[in-house]
């Protein structure tokens, strides 16, 4: 952080030595150097707009931003929010774990074997493109209302994404690396574990991240469609008793949690795994 700031100062100093920049240029260089500034600015604008819309109010069911924040603080303080996340994260984590293990396994198998590809690829392509939300209520009929059903809903959304990305990852492994391994008489097992999986791992991980994004959608659908628990329960319950601030706080919190999770994973992906793939 500090390094970035001082770098900016250096640039400014160098710029000042030469021609004074026009206001447009100055704005542009400012915009380029302070990304975080724009993030904060756009957040501030949104929150202000929200507060004003709540003050008007555009609807009795539209709370002010401050009301929402208060509701959020209240729910965190009395533990309901934390307990809700405890409940929501169970099917999510479980579902994503199952999807990851099964999905990466199936995806790699599909990538390695043409027969398995022929058998499974079309199914997963259809499943990924299909509106799976329609099928979520069916889960209840078989698996009832508990953790199993919700986990299954998460799997239904996350699995196709992970399978297809893993499959793609394996298919896009650098062929000359595979040839290299063969030319050194590597066994098939060595080929898979020493070349294919390491080379595919960045795409595998990216697929996992997309799978987690799909899992969040799945768990929300499950909690809104199957039975309300966790965050889904907070949303429906507070709506049914007209605590709209609490309802909004719950919705905003799940979106924020998913965004932060995904951003964290992306950061991990670009900075820890395979630094050579890092973009400038």
């Amino acid at each position: 952080m500090q390094a970035i700031v001082s770098h900016t100062k250096l640039n400014d100093a160098a710029g000042a030595l030469k021609a004074p920049p026009t206001p447009g240029q100055a704005l542009q260089s400012f915009a380029e150097n302070r990304r975080s500034f724009w993030i904060i600015l756009s957040l501030a604008v949104l929150f202000a707009a929200w507060e004003i819309a709540g003050l008007v109010p555009i609807s009795f069911a539209f709370p002010k931003f401050s009301e929402t924040v208060l509701a959020f603080v209240e729910m965190v303080a009395d533990g309901t929010m934390i307990y809700a996340y405890f409940l929501t994260l169970q099917p999510l984590v479980l579902g994503v774990l199952i999807s990851a293990v099964v999905g990466i396994g199936l995806g790699i198998a599909m990538g390695l074997s043409n027969k398995i590809e022929w058998l499974l690829a079309p199914v997963f392509i259809v499943l990924q493109a299909a509106p799976m939300a329609a099928l979520v209520p069916l889960v209840t009929f078989i698996y009832g209302i508990g953790l199993t059903a919700k986990t299954l809903a998460v799997v239904m959304l996350a699995l196709p994404v992970i399978v297809l990305n893993s499959y793609k990852a394996v298919r896009h492994v650098n062929p000359s690396l595979v040839d290299m391994c063969r030319s050194f008489q590597g066994t098939r097992k060595q080929q898979i574990f020493k070349i294919i999986i390491p080379d595919a791992s960045p795409v595998l991980f990216a697929g996992l991240r997309l799978g987690i994004a799909a899992g969040f959608i799945g768990v929300m659908l499950a909690e809104l469609l199957i039975t309300p628990t966790g965050i889904g329960d907070l949303i429906t319950y507070h709506r049914s008793v007209a605590n709209y601030g609490h309802m909004y706080a719950s919705v905003a919190s799940i979106i924020a949690v998913s965004t932060l999770t995904l951003a964290g994973l992306q950061y991990f992906e670009t900075n820890v795994l395979r630094p050579e793939k890092r973009r400038k």
Partner: protein, 250 residues
């Protein structure tokens, strides 16, 4: 893509799964899976009912309007983000956030802002589809080979000419890819919107059939939707291939 290179074997595998389904259905293991043949015949009946036609009309209307708006807003916004740094900074956060956010959680709120019924569904479609269109259009514009732009400048092209004659054409394959993914997401959006808020269109039918345990019709409707999603994306893909044919190997 490689999958579509071997289209016929792929179809064959789906046929095999359908046969398996038929067998499971005939064994009468669970009421959830009726035989494929009865699903198909229920589908034949279904498409002749007024309520299906009506639901299709409503669903299509929300979908078409939502997609049209997503394209009309998404492509220019993405192009602008790719070209103008400040706009990119302002919108970048939101686009990246919403492209993978659990929008299903947001749907209950949309109703408050956009009212009951079709408008909310239409907005849901828009929200599901627009972000990926923006991101792909942005990526397309940013991927324009710098030498092409320099070439334009060399021959004295104005900024506008470079934009309209080079940048847009060059970004077209990515823009189309974004629209294709957007279409698939839009189909998901229309279903989620209809199921979560207003019980209209296909959402109503799904609710009705699952409540009355009418599994034949339920699956028939599901298959129609799945097929529609696949056909839509295949159609855009076909178009994309033609464009890529011109765009060649970049």
């Amino acid at each position: 893509m490689t999958l579509f290179g071997i289209r016929i074997p792929m179809m064959m595998s789906l046929v095999m799964w359908a046969v398996l389904w038929e067998v499971v259905g005939r064994l009468d293991l669970i009421f959830l899976i009726p035989p494929m043949t009865s699903v198909i015949s229920a589908g034949m009946d279904l498409v002749q009912t007024g309520s299906w036609q009506n639901a299709t009309l409503i669903t299509l209307r929300s979908f078409v309007f939502g997609m049209a708006l997503a394209i009309v807003v998404g492509v220019p916004l993405g192009v602008l983000m790719g070209r103008v740094r400040i706009i990119d900074n302002i919108f970048g956060l939101w686009v990246n956030m919403f492209v993978s956010a659990p929008l299903s959680a947001l749907v209950p709120i949309l109703m408050i802002l956009f009212g009951l019924g079709e408008t909310t569904v239409f907005v849901t479609v828009f929200l599901f589809a627009v972000w990926i269109i923006v991101l792909d259009a942005r990526a397309g514009v940013m991927q324009v080979p710098p030498s092409l732009i320099e070439m334009g400048r060399c021959y004295g092209a104005s900024r506008w000419t470079i934009f309209s004659k080079i940048v847009l054409f060059s970004a077209l394959p990515e823009i189309l890819a974004g629209i294709r993914i957007g279409l698939i997401r839009g189909v998901k959006g229309v279903v989620i919107g209809q199921i979560l808020v207003s019980i209209i269109g296909y959402g109503e039918l799904f609710e009705l059939y699952s409540r009355s345990f009418d599994m034949e019709r339920f699956w028939a409707l599901t298959l129609i939707l799945f097929a529609a999603a696949m056909l839509l994306s295949a159609a855009v893909e076909l178009f994309e291939k033609r464009i890529e044919y011109y765009a060649g190997a970049r």
